[in-house]
Subunit: 403 residues, 2 copies
């Protein structure tokens, strides 16, 4: 594949066995049925670009191009992937706690990071039809980017997926089906269609490039904090692409010599009603069992089985962090507190990270002075809010004391 | 007022009479009942900062501090006011048409720009209680920022304000009342309460600082386009603060020597069902009459009467632009086209700018090669979308040909 910009991808490799795969070919999972990771010639990349050069570029996701797989500018599809802001959250009850507000990305969630990269690579590799299972936000991001570059998309979501997600997926040009099941049931349909050659399977971690897009969360965070990572990261964990991606980003930054060997404690946050990674973490095993009867108000982390489970668990353990589950009541309270006290409207999954932070602080897993970053993965505007029904009749005398 | 950062406000002046008012005092409208404009010592500001210095700062709204009124860092209230991205919109049917996507700001709309500044100044000037009439987004931005710095807020909105807006206002800590009337009816209640000394009136242009926040749209645009302004700007116009603000920003940038005398044609976009500025423009008068029985799906521009009407009209005329009204059907079609073809989910008011652009192009008001910027003032996620109701039963054999 010819390149009009300096890129440094050397090959892909199986995340379980290390088996090597050729770059610039269409790949799904490895022969071992596990995610493929993109590898770069980081020595060459480090000669081609400096931290200062990155800092001088426009602050969007594409500033990281030497660490991304897209080789040709013409394949880039973009809706404005800005660097998301860091917002202090006093309600956390400790100094140095900030929210990385991923809801500012196109389609209102961090899914845009993974999908913009995966769609650009699908376009580069000639894919014309994509299918995906989704709990909502990933499907919306896929639809927007694929539509924008003329790729056909079919999206399957659990039947109780929020109405707004189903509608935005359809509105942005995809065909969307509600399925009587959970996300892995939807995934089975996508897999069957892919086997029949009807479409390319864009399930979490089943193609190699979403993780490359998601890793930009880690790259951005390092740059925003002056190339010093926080002491702790709280990350809402469904499929875990972002956590795996950030861990990979930190390794690449260290290989470049841009950060040292220190790492944040990685906290994988799940819900009591769907906590397969937490159970595997507590059981000391490397793979998680499917979680039966999964339920939580935080639909984005209602993922009963994650194909990258062992990668999530390895990163959390290596970091000295922990997998934590919080209750729906704790999530709801955290969302409410952040909005009513800090003016910050989190999504439920973002609320889960605040709840988990409070737990970690109370249990002494981190100190009150430790810097911590909570990932708010989507705009709170996509989620239900309580009614507010005060009516005032202007045609009658108004009692201002009551307002 | 002591300052811990270099600021250059010299005074305020009446936008109609030029009468001078003291800075760093609490002001509403001028004695003539018209908006006050903040004036700066631009010669001193130009010695204190350069375009290059601005470019080297973090890319948020506060990078423009020498052109903003906040004198003390401690008064800044922030939820992450990022520089909004410019996104090409091929569906416009001409090259060089881009959308400035203001939906990425805190609370999902450009109202954040004005309110973050007004709330910071209210805080600096000791205000503890604020009231405001709103069609939705301004109230949400006020609630979030005021809550964040402990200022009490009471918000009045028309009874048919979208549910999501009413809820987010309440969720973010404000008291919110639905009123049986339009936004100027709500404004009358706010004015009466202010007269009684119950609160400070934060109505559009009735305090001097929202316009200073909104003008950052013009400052950003200039910087993002390499200090060359586009040939045309299409701006959805209700109260018109942003249009007035951008026009002021361009004058300040020229006084600094950062841009030349060229200006974009300013197109003030309204809806057929509420077009007071269009009527005044067409009639060749300087003030607009109240528009009776106002109605449009674009609630943000359903403003029957604008206190800054003469400023809007002056800017549009001076620029060689025009005030244009589009129908609700054109707005809906534009929103639909942008989503289904470009993956870009506009708000109705943003859709109105696309519809107006198409009209201006068809009527030869601008050329197909002219650069144009459309303002999408809020995230499309806040607005109703058509239902998408395809259901798939996974317990039965799936006919993949039908998907």
């Amino acid at each position: 594949m010819t390149a009009d910009r300096p890129t440094f991808v050397t090959h892909l490799e199986c995340s379980l066995t290390g088996e090597r795969y050729e770059a610039d070919r269409l790949h799904g999972l490895s022969a071992a049925g596990r995610p493929l990771l993109v590898r770069y010639d980081l020595e060459a990349a480090g000669k081609a670009v400096t931290r200062e050069a990155i800092a001088a570029r426009p602050t969007d996701l594409w500033r990281w191009r030497e660490l991304l797989p897209v080789r040709n500018t013409a394949d880039i599809v973009s809706l404005g992937e800005i660097e998301t802001p860091l917002v202090p959250i006093p309600e956390a009850g400790a100094a140095n706690v900030i929210v990385k507000d991923e809801g500012r990305l196109p389609t209102g969630s961090f899914k845009a990071r993974g999908l913009v990269m995966a769609v650009a690579m699908a376009r580069a590799l000639g894919v014309t039809r994509i299918a995906m299972p989704t709990n909502g936000n990933a499907g919306a991001a896929l639809a927007a980017y694929a539509t924008r570059c003329g790729i056909e998309t079919i999206v399957f979501c659990p039947e109780d997926t929020p109405e707004i997600n189903v509608r935005e997926i359809a509105m942005q040009g995809a065909r969307v089906w509600r399925v009587n099941g959970l996300i892995d049931d939807c995934g089975a349909i996508v897999a069957e269609g892919a086997k029949q050659g009807r479409w390319f399977d864009f399930s979490t971690l089943k193609e190699p490039y979403r993780i490359e897009g998601k890793k930009t969360m880690g790259l951005e965070l390092a740059a925003q904090l002056g190339w010093r990572l926080p002491r702790a990261i709280f990350y809402p964990t469904g499929g875990g692409t972002g956590l795996i991606g950030m861990w990979k980003a930190f390794a690449e930054l260290e290989a470049l010599g841009w950060i040292g060997p220190e790492r944040p404690k990685m906290f994988a946050v799940q819900a009591d009603g769907c906590a397969p990674i937490v159970k595997a973490f507590d059981d000391g095993v490397n793979h998680a069992e499917r979680w039966e009867n999964a339920h939580t108000i935080a639909a984005g982390i209602r993922v009963p089985r994650a194909v990258g489970d062992f990668l999530i668990l390895a990163a959390v353990r290596e970091s000295g962090g922990k997998a934590l589950a919080v209750s729906d009541a704790e999530i709801a309270r955290a969302v409410d507190d952040a909005a009513r006290k800090d003016g910050l409207l989190l999504c439920p999954e973002g609320g889960a990270t605040l709840a988990a932070y409070r737990r970690a602080l109370a249990e002494g897993l981190i100190g009150a002075e430790d810097s911590a970053v909570l990932f708010n993965c989507a705009t709170g505007l996509k989620y239900p809010m309580p009614a507010a029904d005060n009516a005032l009749d202007r045609t009658r005398p108004i009692d201002f004391d009551l307002l």
